[in-house]
Symmetry: C2
Subunit: 348 residues, 2 copies
């Protein structure tokens, strides 16, 4: 067992604070990673504050992890000490169900999330990436393209794959008109990826101030979703990626789809979204959801980002600013993802 | 022009009563049909009573039409005088859009419904099948398998195709677990067709009294949807066809789907259905709609029904009982479709 410095939430109402956790010694299939950067996802905040009701404390969030390999188990072939490696939202799954067999570990009923899932090795729950190091089964560790700046790679492991997976599953590509709703951590990756996949991208945002930025990120058009007149003119969409996690009216987006088009929800509003039957029936439209992505498509996404020079737009912070970052995240005051420089752990 | 006896609604609040309408003389592409039977669809009642707000009076409902050909235009090759023929929900469409080109006239933005759509030939609105005769472009007239009892064929033209089209589009077949929600006009056809397509069929109904009948119609299992315990045990569905047109909770059905499964709405509740994001996201599930069916798949459905000996379960009534039938339909007091014997028009 190895001790690792970390930051943890000790209750739903206390700020995150320094904490020392223990990592298992690497087994034959394991890779030990010295964490260099960890992205800050809205799920981290939800979990730290027990907003989904299932948090076990102390809780160490973080599932957008990049770092250097410091040890590998006997059966590990694809990594060696010194390599750059990445870990995302999952660290294990059952490996046997149909979803696992098809490389869709993200839909395994028994997947193990990077934090706050049962830890079969040490008991208790898994502890995430707001830490000096982590030990992960090689199946859930990814290669990182060498040409990309490392802090900006970290958010690809959640925000990147969460948007890439549905864009690929629903076969977004050239000649298609694709909407992205919301310009936050997920939305800004959705715009970049849909653009790189060759689609005509229309960004929907509530903030007129984000129009310029939307175009810089790859949107061909920006529509202010509070402008009813502008919204009423929209139509002919093949696919709309909805990244908004607050309650919002989904029906205008459903009604913009052409026949057989799909709106896919990747944000997770807590309240049910009223869905009008006629919007679905009249053009055989579909309203769907999508959850992160599987292991093979996560590697594919990283390789795609390497090829197209795509990373997240990030603001790098020392871990001592994590609580302030959470408050700013709640106000959408970040363009577009906080990433913790884990070197700051040593300087506390 | 030919006069035809009919029954019409003259206002939203008056009962249907005898009416004489005029049909155009058959043009080169037209087929004139002496109507023998016409099914009674819930849409007839909605329209007669202006519940969708767009009814033009006098209104002659009816879009489940079977009868004998009495005249054909010069360009009509597929029918001759004396043939049995059928007409469904549409009598024309633009013929030029992508949907029309693909035989999905039901998704044409400018389709002409059998009643209460603009009539380009005579002005006013189209008048439906509660009448002695009708004249329809041959593209929208179907051949009827000779082995099926004619009164029981009529409902196939709406209830049949409305359920057949999504079952086929989502590729329902052997080895699949398929749910059908609701056992009315649509639901009873859904059960018969899903069974004939080889799926394991589970009927969901609010009425314990319908369990026996559900099994007789082809359901392998019947679940009483008001029984929360029985509902909680359900899962693993590939596809669920929801035929309920009253407001109801869609989320238990979404949550029963396996990964990539779909709930398809063919009933049209007036109020939006609250849809929980997590139900969609966690297994990449889909909530979709479907509207009647295209011309080629309507003929395919009739041929399929001929091959498998499938018709609707009907109660044949004289047209003089139509207002009473509407009241009974509102109480779901029909197994499972009223069909008007149009010979009764002559005996008034």
């Amino acid at each position: 067992m190895t001790k690792s410095q970390a930051f943890a939430a000790h209750s739903a109402s206390s700020p995150l604070s320094p904490f020392t956790l223990e990592r298992r010694d690497p087994g034959p299939e394991d890779i030990q990673i010295d964490i260099q950067y960890c992205g800050v996802c809205h799920s981290d905040l939800h979990t730290a504050r027990n907003e989904w009701g299932s948090t076990v404390y102390p809780c160490v969030p973080g599932h957008e992890i990049v770092g250097k390999v410091t040890a590998v188990g006997a059966n590990v072939k694809k990594f060696k000490v010194g390599d750059t490696a990445a870990v995302g939202c999952m660290v294990d799954s059952c490996r046997q169900c149909a979803s696992c067999q098809q490389g869709l570990e993200n839909y395994c009923d028994n997947f193990i999330l990077t934090y706050n899932s049962p830890d079969k090795h040490l008991g208790g729950v898994t502890l995430g990436g707001y830490a000096q190091s982590i030990v992960v089964d090689q199946h859930f560790v990814f290669r990182v393209p060498e040409n990309l700046p490392l802090p900006a790679v970290a958010p690809l492991l959640c925000a990147g794959i969460t948007t890439y997976s549905p864009l690929r599953h629903w076969k977004v590509g050239p000649g298609q008109k694709v909407g992205v709703v919301g310009l936050g951590g997920l939305g800004h990756m959705g715009v970049k990826l849909a653009h790189a996949l060759g689609a005509h991208v229309v960004l929907f945002t509530t903030s007129p101030g984000k129009a310029e930025d939307g175009k810089r990120l790859g949107a061909d058009e920006v529509v202010i979703s509070r402008d009813a007149e502008a919204m009423a003119k929209q139509g002919g969409f093949d696919f709309i990626l909805d990244t908004v996690s607050a309650k919002h009216d989904i029906n205008p987006y459903l009604n913009m789809l052409k026949r057989d088009g799909t709106v896919v929800l990747v944000g997770a509003p807590n309240e049910p979204l009223p869905t009008a039957a006629f919007g679905l029936i009249f053009k055989r439209r579909q309203f769907a959801g999508s959850l992160i992505g599987g292991v093979p498509e996560t590697q594919e996404m990283l390789d795609f980002c390497g090829k197209h020079g795509i990373t997240a737009d990030v603001e790098v912070i020392p871990i001592q600013q994590i609580n302030e970052a959470y408050e700013r995240m709640l106000k959408s005051d970040v363009k577009y993802r906080f990433v913790i420089d884990m070197a700051s752990l040593k300087s506390r």
